[in-house]
Symmetry: C2
Subunit: 265 residues, 2 copies
């Protein structure tokens, strides 16, 4: 199967991010239609989520009809090649609908099971966090700054972030509480933006649950290229989403993993 130049794919992804940003900005802080797609709980989707996904899917199918797509709102489109795009039109819909800029459009490309590159676009702040073969970068206006995690190695000095305490229940909630009792500070909120701040060296640890593949796979190249270690709560690559531990250093990741495992024995 023909190899596509990675730079061409990266440029296309950045174009998609730009397109998504325009649509998101047009809807942000405007009266939006919020629907509840949850069955037992409130799981909002806005017309902005749907509009972005529709436009990005159409652009991908037009440019790379052989590629697969996995996205939040309309599900999977099988491709005839081993390239698959993962799209989360707005990660942080609850932030978006409450006026906070801490949300992002996530776009990632995997080949087989290998993430090639990924990005998080935050148009209000005019930021794109990008990770790929060239490393991890914060792209803002004409500037590119290399992302680098910071070297905190002990839980006692670690700043932990997680979107919401309700992400965990039962023994996982107890394990998470045990972890946060050991950390210097816990911040809630943030959604995907927490991972960007981890890659940029402003946080030490992000621990979450209930993620979907498109919530985390596009972030893996950004995190890994910045020196972070990311696994699920069993220590495996989080390619299927689920429960995630992302740390700015190998030592801190190990400490968090051991504590989360030990608390559930």
């Amino acid at each position: 199967m023909a190899e596509i130049d990675i730079l061409e794919l990266e440029d296309f992804a950045l174009e998609l991010a730009h397109t998504a940003g325009g649509i998101a900005q047009a809807h942000f802080r405007q009266p939006v239609t919020v629907e509840n797609k949850g069955v037992s709980s409130f799981d909002p989707v806005t017309n902005a989520d749907r509009a972005i996904e529709r436009v990005l899917r159409t652009a991908i199918v037009a440019r790379y009809p052989e590629h697969g797509i996995v996205a939040e709102e309309e599900g999977e489109r099988a491709g005839s090649s081993d390239y698959t795009w993962l799209i989360e039109p707005i990660d942080g819909t609850r932030a978006f609908m409450t006026g906070s800029p801490l949300w992002g459009t996530l776009i990632g490309l995997v080949r087989g099971r290998k993430p090639l590159f990924g990005l998080l676009a935050q148009p209000v702040l005019e930021e794109v966090f990008f990770g790929g073969p060239s490393g991890s970068w914060l792209i803002k206006a004409e500037r590119r700054d290399r992302l680098r995690s910071r070297a905190c190695t002990s839980l006692a000095r670690a700043v932990l972030a997680s979107t919401h305490p309700d992400m965990f229940s039962g023994e996982r909630a107890a394990a998470f509480d045990a972890l946060r009792a050991r950390c210097l500070l816990t911040r809630f909120g943030g959604d995907c933006y927490n991972y960007a701040m981890l890659a940029a060296g402003h946080l030490d640890l992000v621990v979450e649950g209930q993620l979907k593949p498109y919530d985390i796979v596009p972030l893996l190249p950004i995190l890994q290229g910045a020196g972070c270690v990311v696994t699920d709560w069993e220590g495996q690559p989080p390619l299927a989403g689920g429960n995630v531990i992302a740390a700015g250093s190998r030592e801190l990741h190990q400490a968090a993993l051991e504590l989360l495992r030990g608390s559930r024995l």
Copy 2:
């Protein structure tokens, strides 16, 4: 005692906000010195907090030497007039030190016990939320948009925000949990920015604890001018800080107040 023109005072406050923004931006996402000023818990202060407060105090004393000052880091300065400035150099120090833009400089002026005007300046987003005799406004670049809360009247449809679940303990924690179980959605994080989003009609309810006067008094004119109702958990004006209920409508405020009181009987 001589009356000072309110527009002159407002212009001066906006100058202070501009000055604070420049200092904050220079420190934001840079390696900062974080000190722990807490006794039993982690209560961070950065060199940015201290630098901003120092510069604003100096400017106020130079321009209005007869005015009092109440501020977070250096405490109170008694004045010889009945004007007092309330200054929170960075509300959301934990957000600031973790790279999130959801913090703000709060500046308010009271005469006797009456708040005259107040502002929240967020320089990364280039926003100033201002409330005073002319109403409540979001000032961004050359534009001024009037702030107006939204008319949600029932807890079941309300989006609640609060900075951190650990703001509450004992019976207050139980009361807060009872409240959030009744609301549509709860968002954590946000600090002062939650009040700005309440005034702008993107949230319905903000409930917090352990506030200091300079954390809430500068926000009162913004909130009240936008149609919000703000009291402490006893239904009194929150001029001393403490526990706060701020709602976008009178009905919703009443429902939250009754529930929080009832849960503690």
